[in-house]
Amino acid sequence: MATAVQAPEGDESRMTAGEARRESVVVRFAGDSGDGMQLTGGQFTLSTALAGNDLATFPDFPAEIRAPQGTLFGVSAFQIHFGSSRVDTAGDEPDVLVAMNPAALKTNLPSLRKGGLLIVDTGAFGERNLQKAHYEANPLNDGSLAPFQLLAFDISKLTLESVKEFGLGNKDALRCKNMWTLGLSLWMFGRKRGPIIDWLKIKFGKNELLREANIAALNAGHAYGETAELAGPVKQFRLAPADAEPGLYRTVTGADALALGLVAGAKLSGLPMFFGGYPITPASAILHALARLREFDVTTFQAEDEIAAICATIGAAYAGNLAVTSSSGPGIALKSEAMGLAVMTELPLVIVNSQRGGPSTGLPTKTEQSDLYQAVYGRNGDTPMPVIAARSPSDCFDVAIEACRLALAFMTPVMLLTDGYIANAAEPWKVPDAHDYVPFPVQFHEEMPETGKLNPYLRDHETLKRVWVKPGTPGLMHRIGGIEKSYDTGNIDYSAENHQKMTDTRKAKIEGVARYIPAQTVEEGPEKGALVVVGWGSTYGPIRQAVSHVRAAGHDVAHIHIRYLWPFPANLGDLLKSYDRVLVPEMNTGQLKTLLRDQFLVDAKSLNKVSGQPFRISEIEAAIMEMLNQ
């Protein structure tokens, strides 16, 4: 069997056994949409987690459902970063790239670390595939891969051989390639096959043939690694398990954690949940997850559009449910008018925005943080609403609970920002115990007013939250709506003083939220100094790593990561002013920067990346160093 094995040119360190010292490794699986790379990645992730490594993943797939085979735009990739110490990002550049066809090689090679290991299925490098990938010459032969360690062999053929006995058709047999590759990968990192085999048994259930063929391919790939056939660069790695708090762990994606957090929020409040949504990438996953949880008193409603979705949610909130709606940028834009209604009627609502690349339809499957303006400012009128953001997949759980808590504590819609990266990425999660959370049970208003007439805008003096009266309550019939209402009676009131008072009240209520949220802490580094890097949302990982690295090199830098974006924690302004410089890396053109400058008059500077890809640690490091040297 022709296995091309090649060591890299130059003096780049080899990925040999000696490298097992590395604390972490980044592996990227890339192939055709039909090659099952997401499944491979997912299962590799599971085995990584079971091996006790910390990890972060980054699935990166095309907008097309199933693009024609072999095309550049049809490439689907899955990157995983895992290690024996804390892992915060999916990794700047892969150490190992598995490329299942020429298109995958072409689109992913630029990110491979120089000297990194490249595993290639030569069986997929035929004329047609090379053409589809717009290769003029076969890169395996033209020396262009010299900077890498190349391991090129005919995985297709090996797979076919390994499943021959099952008599599958050629197409089905080739579909087992991903399991073969996974088997090899498991061997490389010394992983157990057992859990994957268990999963294959469940997945293929009654289809014995496919089940056994896939298991055979997995075993064959693993066995291939164990034989002596792999000379040269490829050795087994062993990464020690990461230090982690004791407890029960699972992997979780942001979308799943968010769905679970919403259910937790409902449970803590003692309310049934109503979730109104309309499919849109990458928000749909939350709706999908909740649709399966009927027994947790969750009603999901797939509306005819985003407007109907939020309106149904508003109706459910009026009727006394914990109401949630969710979408992505374009859908959130459509909800703007109705959000105003929710603000005006002061109904509790959680609005989840899984941000994606914009403007307009933009880049639906890519990530971005460019809806912060929309979240804070994107409504007609003076229409304030709390905005909070999740920083990582598992953080979605806590942030979802917090969104529910704030919505109910203040009778207000709350915008929860997450993004495409967080939604799809997975990380290990120490499974919490629901009993560890402080419940926030809801008291509906049932008291008969002395006047005989309820004022639905009767307020709590502390929080300014209005009463919540459920239809069905005898004697408390009342009408609410989008027209300005009297502070004193709740009846329609256009008078100048009243509108001023209600506007001031709405503003004061939301500003007052700042008194009920935790003070801003510093993630890492000193409470004052030369430079602070301020982030929000999914830039958490790269910022944290970048600040760590730069601090390790002796620089005076701190990291602040903001969860509460509107209103800000009460101490944030003073905190920021205690640093000489403020750097704000964002996957947008500078939206948090605007908020900070407006609110605190600090000279915050932007580091912007709007490419649909998360920040690399190195990009942030470079920006920090540049700013320090200014």
């Binding site: 006394g320 449910n321 019939m477």
Partner: protein
């Protein structure tokens, strides 16, 4: 909607009137509708605290403020969405939707379509005045071609949508029509609508005295009503003009015709079968003045309502599954990190 309950303590029309000053133009048809609804509610055995009126924006959509019930004056066109949430969150509530021809068929047409096809258990009262009242008289989707208005000074060009035909195409299972001033018949229609489980669509011809005065006069005027209106009733021959005229279906041309009824011989007159969709379609689109305008329950063919289907599915799916949240959190493959490590 709920069966008319016998046991509920009786209410009077006054119990259904809120303390708010009514703010329509003097003479507006909306007053008559309000009165008819307030008069009918006690007869339904409905309870104010279990009743929710949801509306969009428009003159008509002010309606909820005048009812001493729960009420939600939402935003333009979106009452069906809000009503859906209210009903799904608490299926015990009686939900009424009040909308106008602009609110329900212009900006809100899509929500109306989906409400009707989903068959949410609620009553939709569409006040059709063939004009945008609240915004001062622009033509609406139901305005007749040629309507002159501030936005169509040369006359509107569009062919109007026929609300009941639209509802039929949308899959509505209950379609009725009445007139603001029909104080005797409207309560009957409202009762039928209330009793129908599913979305009940009721078009009410409503006179806008300010911007479209008299647009329905040709068939709503009391003195000629016998000739210009036909009130249909399930199982009864379709008669009008005090029984002297009837509707006949020409089986060759497949079109309706008006026939004389001589000596009470109704053999040529078709009997109203409110479950016959094809005939309902013909009744709805009968051209006036060649034909009278059909009123009453034009089509009624119940099917499972959305909320009911949801409740049934919930029972089926949830069964006696225990909702163990901690177990849910642990679903899927997990691993234990030991303390010693």
């Amino acid at each position: 909607m709920n069966e008319i309950t016998k046991i509920a303590p009786a209410t009077t029309p006054d119990d259904w009137a809120s303390d708010q000053e009514v703010r329509w133009c003097p003479g507006c048809g909306d007053y008559a509708i309000l009165k008819a609804v307030q008069r009918t509610m006690p007869e339904l055995g409905a309870r104010p605290e279990n009743t929710v009126f949801v509306s969009g924006i428009g003159c008509s959509s002010r309606f909820p403020y005048y009812m001493e019930t729960y009420g939600f004056h939402t935003i333009h066109g979106r009452a069906p969405g809000v009503a859906t949430g209210v009903k799904l969150a608490n299926p015990e509530l009686d939900v009424w939707i009040i909308t106008g021809d602009g609110d329900g068929l212009s900006i809100g047409g899509n929500h109306m379509l989906h409400l009707l096809r989903r068959n949410l258990d609620c009553q939709v009262l569409l006040f059709n005045n063939e004009i945008y009242g609240l915004t001062k008289g622009q033509y609406s989707p139901t305005s007749r071609t040629g309507t002159r208005s501030p936005t169509s000074p040369g006359g509107s060009l569009e062919r109007p949508v026929a609300p009941c035909a639209f509802a039929l195409g949308a899959g509505a299972r209950f379609i009725a029509r009445t007139i603001d001033t029909a104080q005797k018949m409207m309560p009957e229609v409202l009762k039928r609508a209330y009793r129908h489980k599913g979305a009940s669509f009721v078009e009410i011809y409503q006179n806008c005295v300010v911007y479209n005065d008299g647009v329905f006069e040709a068939f709503t005027e009391k003195k000629s009503a016998a000739m210009t209106q036909i009130w249909v009733e399930h199982g009864k021959p379709m008669l009008f003009a005090n029984g002297t005229l009837g509707l006949h279906l020409n089986r060759d041309t497949l079109r309706l015709e008006v026939v004389n009824v001589v000596d009470g011989d109704v053999s040529q007159v078709i009997v109203h079968d409110e479950t016959n969709k094809a005939v309902a379609a013909m009744l709805i689109e009968m051209p006036f003045p060649e034909f009278p305008v059909a009123q009453g329950v034009l089509y009624c063919e119940p099917a499972t309502s959305f909320d009911q289907a949801m409740a049934e599915q919930e029972v089926k799916l949830v069964g006696d599954k225990v909702a163990d949240f901690n177990a849910l959190l642990r679903r899927g493959q997990s691993w234990e990190v030991k303390g010693e490590h």
